[in-house]
Structures are given as structure tokens and as C-alpha cells.
Symmetry: C2
Subunit: 360 residues, 2 copies
Amino acid sequence: MHKAINYLCASAMLLFAAGALYAQSKQQPLTIAKQGSFMIGGSVITEQGSFDLNNALKPQGQTFHGDHAYVFYQIPVKAHKLPLVFLHGAGQSKKTWESTPDGRDGFQHIFLRKGFSVYLLDQPRRGDAGRSTASVAITPTPDEQFWFTQFRIGNYPDYFPDVQFPRDSVSLEQFFRQMTPNTGAFDGAIVADACSEIFNKIGNGILVTHSQGGGPGWLTAIRNDKVKAVVAYEPYSGFVFPENELPQPIKSTGLFGELKGIGIPMNDFLKLTKIPIVVYYGDNIAKEPTLTWNKDHWRSGLEMARIWAATINKHGGNATVVHLPEIGIYGNTHFLFSDLNNMEVADLLSKWLKEKGLDK
Amino acid sequence: MHKAINYLCASAMLLFAAGALYAQSKQQPLTIAKQGSFMIGGSVITEQGSFDLNNALKPQGQTFHGDHAYVFYQIPVKAHKLPLVFLHGAGQSKKTWESTPDGRDGFQHIFLRKGFSVYLLDQPRRGDAGRSTASVAITPTPDEQFWFTQFRIGNYPDYFPDVQFPRDSVSLEQFFRQMTPNTGAFDGAIVADACSEIFNKIGNGILVTHSQGGGPGWLTAIRNDKVKAVVAYEPYSGFVFPENELPQPIKSTGLFGELKGIGIPMNDFLKLTKIPIVVYYGDNIAKEPTLTWNKDHWRSGLEMARIWAATINKHGGNATVVHLPEIGIYGNTHFLFSDLNNMEVADLLSKWLKEKGLDK
């Protein structure tokens, strides 16, 4: 009986996949006016002494450039004025925004087709931007069942019943393999430095962040007024508040414990009130405190986001928190932009960009 | 006087750069039928024990996927039959083949425009393919003046007089920043495993390697007959010979000492005689042994390549070594495909691909 159901499910999935492929195969070609890559930001270490050409493996007098970001960009023909700059989250690279684990178009492609120039980062000390001024030791630690659960695909080995994540093993393997380690400790200020330099290079644009990228995202918008809007998918840590308006920490059974805001000078905070901001959260997040730690972890994030947006708006800002199930979109994981319904998630963002006049 | 010359040089370079930009700005848009990214190959570590949802940070019963490659691909409209698969060298990522340090089109773009599907790898334990089953410690060690010299831009701080590398500091910084560390020890067999899996996935194609990628390149062609040709830019180590035909090691004043061939079974070696192979070397490589270690390092590589090609051809193969200065192309560094004359270097490859019927 179980086997029969599995067979039916597999058949349905194949039909679905075939449908998706057919839909994509009908697409017009992408017409790219220009594409390329560059490194941006970062710092330099110079070892004391003089470089000796005859002892060239000695570090004396030599330099080391590190802590930059890597950027791959594509500019479509007849691009909208404001590009989208995408910053990934913890343990991820720009792959986050590319092809989905089951090989469908990611936000990179979807927003190119919608006419946006797209800039994808590997943040400093990650991926192709691997040179770090800080040392690191990297050890392979089996942790994927944790991440499956933490990212709300389900409570491992169970998938959430309505989850918008493909259930075949190949897709799950792709998802696991897209994780990539820090090559130096995460440092939000260094990430924000490099992000800000991107906007100095390319001009006005819209910053799109995921998860841990949220914190450096706010810092980037604060330090560079060329950031004309911020879109944050499931930020958790890094919410900044005026120093004297810090909320109570939010307790959680999540495995990272209680969640605190970060105090910054009022003048800095007020810069976040000058631009439109939208924050999205997916499904299977608890409404009340619960012992189910993954649902409770994201409950604390969502609650903090709401307090934060209210603080922004109290000071004259324009921040919106969208919890997808509340508008009838169900089953999204922490990676809502690569979930099975990512076209719907993208259309939602398109609608917001249009409302705010950001897609001209 | 020096200042005046520098000023003239800088002005000439600006004019040149402006000309290049103008030439590129006149280009037609790229029309991409399909693009995307995926992870390929690799292995899995599984920690003994059972995963405990309530102790989800403990590794027991959890998995770790590592040692895969990352691939970004673009398929142009009306693509030639055989795609080009690009494997970078030591300390590099797929950035090697993208925009050049001075922002011109790299081989990624040039060969897309020539109608080839282009697959760029981050090899296992590098860049966006960072998860490694081997532990590593990474320390920032100033070494860039060494690499400047080793890669034959010049003998630091001097540029070679005719070098095809831009002399502005911004380009040099971009070049330095595109280095990215191993996140696990380099292992040619693991790289070849992942490369071979790419051909299993995409079918017949042409493998293009750089430097340290040369060795895993030969191994990939040996283990997978879907590799229909190999193009190697300045391979150094990793030349494989029949076990009983190993050449004498080549002594060198290069900083990596003498260069040895690697013995493999004759049956494996003979597979390299079934496909066309071309190997390119740039300029400023010594003709005779010399104490100038960078020129002598590459002299040993070039000499080994010639012995190797002769061995391939003696057994009925079709391998060619091209030393660019001998055909009137001067000043190329170790990164000839991103040098100032990379269009000429690309056209040379086009001509070879056409001669061998590989561009249909």
C-alpha cells in the first residue's frame, strides 16, 4: 500500500517536473547586454620587511589582499533603472539565488527575465571571495539533518506535510552540497563594507538579503544612501534599534537561544526610515512559544522583525513584514525564493517593487 | 622624465581601455538559451549513531556531503554541438575564466559569443564548492609578490617589458583578489572524479584546463571517453606517462624544484592518444636553464610538455604543444586567456577547434 502511494507520488512528481521543464523550455532566450564579475572592498595585510626576489617564498615585504566580496552580474537589455543586489545567508554562497536544488530557475533568472540587472555576491570570507585576513580551521562536521530541520523543510526525517520543497533525494543532495564554509570568521561589519562598496561602484540599487545577510544588509543601507530599498528574506539576527529603544530579548527553545536586538545611534537608525523595506517569512513558524525548536526559533525571528518594523514606522519609516501564510501562501521553507512556489514568491516581490516605484 | 613617461603610459592605457570598452559596448547582446548552476560528484560522510531531533547539534547519525564541484553553465542560442568545460588552476576559482582583471571579456564571454556552451567549475574544496571531507587550517600568508613573479607578470616589482598584463594598480589588485584558498588539501583524483561526472551529466564535450588543472584534466580524459578533446593552458605538474616510459626528472631553479612525470598503466595512457590535445605556453619562459627561477620553472614545464606530447604521438596520438612566441605572439603571462591579447589567444584556439572539427 505504502509502495503504491510512493509510486503515485513519484509519478505525480515526474509529471510536475516534466511540466516545469516544458514551461521553462518554452521561454524566450535571455538577452544579456553585459555580464561579468569583479572583486570589491576588502583590506590588505603587508608583512614588514623587504621582498627578496631570491627568497620569494618568505612573506617579508609581501602583501595579502583579503576580506573582499566577489560579484557576478548580468544586465539584461532594456534593464530597469535600479539593479537588484543579492546577499546570501550563513553557510551559503551566491548559489542561493541561482538554479534551485531541483534545477528550476532561481531569483537570478526570474528577475533577469523581469528586466532587472542582477548582482550576486559571495560575501567576504566565503566561496570565490575566500581570501580572509583572519585564520580559520575548517573541520567536516556532519550536520545536515540539523540544517534540514532548522531550515524548516521538516522535522528530520519527516517533511512538513505541505512543504514547498521537492521530496526527491537528488534535490536534497543538491541542497546539502550548496552549503560552503567560512574561510574566516563571519564579520557583519566587513560584509557591510564590501556591500557598500558595490553600491559605490554601480550606483543606486535595491539590496536583497537572506537570513544572516539581513544584519549586514541594514548596516549597508545605513552607511550608503545609494541603497534605495531593502528586501530581506527571513532575517533572524542583526536587527538594529535606537540604543535607548532596545526591546526585551525574545526567549526561544530554538538552538541559538534567546534573540536580542542590537543598539545603534539614533542618527544611524533613522537612515532606515528613509527607504522602503519589506521582510518576508515563510510557513511552519510557531504562533506561540513551543518546544518544537525550529518552529520556535523562527517565531522569535518573526516577532523581533515585527517589533523592529513597528519601531522603524514609529519614527516615520516604511517597513512591512509579510508572513506568507497570512496572505494564503503556504509551505515555504527558510529558502522561500528557491521553493517550489518561488515564481509566486517572486511575483509578490514584483508587486511590492511596483507599488514602491522601484521598477521603473 | 620618469614621471612624464609614466604619464604618457597612463594616457595611452586610458585610451586603450576606452577603446576596448567602446569595442565591447558595440557588441550585440548575448542570447542565452539556458543558464544555471549545479553541484556534481563528491562523497558523503555519515557519523555513526542515530540522529536525535532533540540534540540536533550533535553529529551522531548526521551526514556531510563534500568534495563535489560547483558548475555554472550558459548555453547560447544555436550552440555548437560540443560544450567547453573550464577547469581553473591552483589558488583560483572559475573567476579565472570570467571578466579579466581589467574588466574585459574573459574566455567565458568570448566563447559564448563564438557559439559554444560554456561550463565553469569551482573544483572540489575550492570556492563555492567549499565543503571538504578533509580538515584544513587556513592562515593569511602574504605571498602576492611571489605569485606576481611566478605567474610571469615580471620579476617583482618590475614588469616584463612586453608583458600583456595591464600596469594599473586597480587591475593588479583585482588579479590578487581573485586568488581563493583550498578548503581541503588539493587531490587530483577527487577533482578528476567530479570533472568526469560533469561529462556523464552533459555528454560529449571539450575540457579546457589551466596550470594545476592540467593533471586532473588528463585523468578525466582517461576515465571518461565523453571528453572529446583537451586544451591545456600552461600545465606544469601532473604529466602522465606509461609506467615504463617515464622521462628523466627535469631539474630547475624554479621554487618547486625538479619536475617529474607520473607513471600510469599503458592501457590508461593510450586513451590519451584517441583524442586531439593542444597545450599552450606564453612568453618569458627560458630557452636554456637559468637562475631566473620563474623563467626556469616554466622552462621545465614546457620541456616536459614537449616530451609528453612526443610520447603521445609516438603511440599514435595527436598532441600539439604551442609556445606562443614561436608563432609571433609575445608577452603572455601564465594567464594567457585573460591577458591583454586574449582575443588573439582565443582566436588561436578557435582555429585549432575548427581544424579538428570540434566546432560543428
